[in-house]
């Protein structure tokens, strides 16, 4: 019985939150990695682009709520995803045409493109703050919990309750669907194959008649879908605040590099590595140990390896360690 209780504690406080957070990071990391693999630059506007897409979802959710449209027990924000993605893709293509295209055609070094993306970051941040302001916004509606701790305790008769928030379930399910479709697209369709070819060797791909314009266009479309969905899922689970999205860029970068930048499988995996490391290293294990250890060995302290203040620092340290010992990432990087 104690063992089951201990497992429930772990599930409740570490595994489920880590899976959720990892999914959100994974979507962002695949976005970073796609841009890096095909357009060949580190996009410092990542967090703000995700924020931009989410902003439309927030505004549309408010609008839908005001005219009385709802999605039953699911959050209304899910209904707004197609519209938000559409706006996001429009914005990305606009930025690409006005800003990035020039440097791509000139074949500028990646550093210059990264600096340009810093400029895009500033502009995007300004646009977001001018439109929606910097305040914290919650736009979650519908059913909050799938499984409540009290109900779980009643049904199972255990001492520990298991809570599953609906946003956690939605995040994990949506991520699995989106990522599955994307990997299918990259591996099985002709366009996906041409994208991988372009990423592996640009010159050879051009020789064999792949249209670079089409590849770039498709890349931005997929990027738009990933950025918007990742942003909305994060916003539903926590809350929407532009500054937080900018900060999220850092663990997302860490996830992409840890997995091997340019490799979407690596990025997907990297998201979970970062999330699990952050949560497992900052969780206070006292409650867990109380169940599995005999009474004489019960710990007095919280048994916390690091305080939660260092959450971000952990993912960055992992990144630094990976960069030192395996600069190409856990999976070989630079492949799509």
């Amino acid at each position: 019985m104690d063992l089951i209780n201990a497992v429930i504690v772990l599930l409740n406080y570490t595994i489920i939150p880590a899976l959720t957070y990892g999914s959100q990071l994974a979507l962002g990391a695949i976005f970073v990695t796609l841009i890096y693999g095909i357009l060949r630059f580190a996009n410092f506007a990542t967090g703000d682009m995700m924020s931009f897409g989410t902003m439309f979802a927030v505004l549309l959710t408010y609008y839908f709520q005001s005219i009385g449209i709802s999605f039953g027990f699911l959050p209304t924000a899910l209904l707004t995803i197609p519209f938000a993605i559409f706006m996001m893709i429009l914005y990305m293509l606009l930025i690409d045409q006005t800003v990035f295209k020039y440097y791509r055609i000139k074949k500028s070094p990646p550093v210059q493109l990264a600096m340009v993306s810093v400029g895009v970051m500033f502009v995007t941040q300004a646009v977001i703050r001018i439109i929606i302001g910097p305040t914290d916004r919650r736009f979650l509606d519908g059913e909050k919990f799938i499984l409540k701790a009290t109900e779980f305790k009643e049904v199972t008769g255990l001492a520990e309750g298991l809570t599953i928030k609906s946003t956690q379930m939605i995040t994990i399910v949506v991520t699995i669907i989106v990522v599955a479709i994307m990997f299918w697209f990259l591996n099985k369709t002709k366009t996906g194959t041409s994208m991988r070819a372009y990423s592996d060797n640009e010159d050879l791909a051009l020789l064999s008649g792949i249209d670079p314009k089409k590849v770039v266009l498709i890349t931005w479309i997929i990027a738009g879908i990933l950025a918007t969905i990742g942003g909305i899922l994060y916003g539903l689970d926590k809350s929407y605040r532009p500054f937080v999205y900018f900060n999220n860029m850092l663990p997302i970068f860490a996830a992409a590099i840890v997995g091997g930048i340019g490799n979407p499988y690596g990025a997907f995996f990297g998201g979970y590595v970062i999330a699990f490391a952050e949560i497992f290293l900052t969780y206070a294990y006292k409650r867990f140990l109380v169940y599995i250890l005999p009474e004489s060995l019960e710990p007095n302290s919280l048994m916390q390896l690091l305080s939660t203040d260092y959450k971000f620092a952990i993912s960055f340290s992992i990144l630094v360690i990976v960069l030192i010992f395996r600069p190409s990432g856990i999976f070989e990087g630079k492949r799509i």
């Binding site: 500033f122 941040q125 300004a126 970068f253 590099i257 340290s317």
Partner: protein, 456 residues
């Protein structure tokens, strides 16, 4: 002379803009902007050494700035004896353990062949060391933070003169740069950018959350100042006499003695703040000029030529027998040290240390915009970039307000769009700086004042 014409024109325009602020807003604001421009200029000089001379991309400026600020606290604040007596021994022991850990790791790296055994040994040392530190420091930290937490709750500093901390700030930053450089300099440009950015985040999060060190997010206020305090000035007779002499014409217009006294009081208060800022401006100007002379000399020395050769063609320079790795590390340390000095200057100027305010937007990306806009590889350009971008950053909101009012003049006061736009005026600074960066990168990638290559 002709060569320098564009520099002189650009600097004159900049000065004119600041003087205009002085005339239209107030001299106090103009001097505040000027001081911050100069601090920014020191930061851009540091970043420019790394990026312009050597092509190293350092997005960790925020971390070095924060360390410079930390140096001010650790050097100038008076020590807290109670905290030292309850936890000093333990903390010093931990410092000793860290030093032993580093030395023994170095010893192992040097004397044992690369093997699994070596990796296990190093991992063992680190794990044992961390556990020891956790056991020894844990209770000590709690006790230190319990000493009068509203006012102190930290170990305090050394109580030395604050100007000394500018040098210490540079040394701190140099020390961090040595570690970061050893770890990350082998990486490709964009990886290096990300790695330095994240390491800077780690540094700032340590400063933020280790309360025993510098009170963390509880901030340290009332730091020492190398300039007189306004309050002291307002009561000292020589200063009041000076103000009286300066404004005698205006004072003579007063009708009665009491009215004259009122005007004089107001003038003294204004003048005292201007005087303090002038003192800071003088000190900063000295730092900027010294750094400018040194960097200019270095740029046109054989060493500077070597650095540019390394930047433009690493393989060729390495084939000519130049030690690229060593030179990169050296210049990385040098540039970071200058940024550290700027960080210390900034905290001295503010008189308070607020770790929560160190954010990558303000302390990394804006500085980079300054370097790019001003002109990479040219020290005059870097300083100008610091001035121009900081001026825009501060004055963007008033400028935006002016234009919003101009374009929405026909709308009524209660119009929703107008109210919304006026409320979001502060965010136009991001727009202005971002568009500025994009335009410069597109149409003048070498910056306002481009790099000048002297042909031999």
């Amino acid at each position: 002379m002709r060569n320098y014409l564009n520099i002189i024109v650009a600097y004159s325009i900049m000065m004119l803009l600041i003087i205009l602020v002085g005339i239209f807003q107030s001299w106090s604001i103009a001097l505040t902007i000027f001081n911050y421009c100069m601090i920014s200029a020191v930061m851009t000089l540091g970043a420019n050494i790394q990026w312009g001379y050597a092509g190293l991309i350092n997005f960790g400026i925020m971390g070095y700035t924060a360390l410079g600020g930390l140096a001010v606290v650790l050097v100038s604040v008076a020590p807290v004896p109670e905290a030292w007596s309850v936890g000093g021994v333990n903390m010093m022991t931990c410092l000793g353990i860290i030093i032993i850990m580093i030395l023994s790791t170095r010893y192992i790296l040097k004397n044992i062949q690369k093997s699994k055994k070596r990796n296990y040994l190093i991992a063992g040392i680190i794990i044992v060391g961390l556990i020891l530190i956790k056991i020894i420091a844990g209770p000590a930290i709690e006790e230190i933070e319990a000493v009068d937490p509203a006012k102190t709750g930290f170990l305090g500093g050394l109580g030395l003169p604050v100007l000394f901390s500018w040098i210490v700030g540079g040394l701190f930053a140099a020390g961090l740069a040595l570690i970061v450089g050893k770890v990350a300099l082998g990486l490709r440009a964009d990886y290096l950018a990300i790695a330095t950015l994240l390491i800077a985040e780690i540094v700032v999060s340590i400063i933020k959350h280790e309360d025993w060190l510098a009170r963390g997010v509880k901030n340290v206020i009332g730091l020492k100042r190398p300039a007189p305090y306004e309050i002291d000035l307002q009561t000292s007779p020589w200063f009041i006499n000076l103000v009286e002499k300066f404004h005698s014409a205006k004072l003579d217009l007063a009708n009665s003695l009491s009215e004259r006294q009122d005007i004089l009081n107001q003038l003294v208060i204004d003048a005292s703040s201007v005087y303090v800022k002038l003192c800071f401006a003088g000190m900063f100007l000295v730092v900027v000029i010294i750094l400018l002379i040194i960097t200019q000399k270095a740029l046109y020395s054989p060493w500077g030529r070597m650095m540019r050769a390394i930047r433009d063609n690493e393989e060729a320079a390495s084939a000519m027998g130049k030690n690229v790795v060593k030179q990169h590390l050296f210049i990385f340390i040098l540039g970071s040290a200058i940024v550290g000095i700027a960080g210390a200057m900034m905290v001295t100027n503010d008189g308070l240390f607020t770790p929560g305010s160190y954010r990558p937007m303000r302390y990394t990306f804006v500085i980079w915009v300054m370097v790019i806009v001003g002109g990479t590889g040219n020290n005059f350009g870097a300083i100008l970039g610091g001035f121009v971008v900081w001026f825009l950053w501060v004055e963007a909101a008033p400028i935006a307000l002016f234009f919003i009012n101009l374009f929405t003049a026909h709308l009524p006061e209660t119009n929703e769009i107008k109210v919304h736009l006026i409320n979001s005026a502060p965010y136009f600074r991001f727009l202005l700086v971002g568009i500025g960066l994009l335009l410069i990168m597109r149409f003048r990638p070498q910056g306002i004042i481009p790099e000048k290559v002297i042909k031999q």
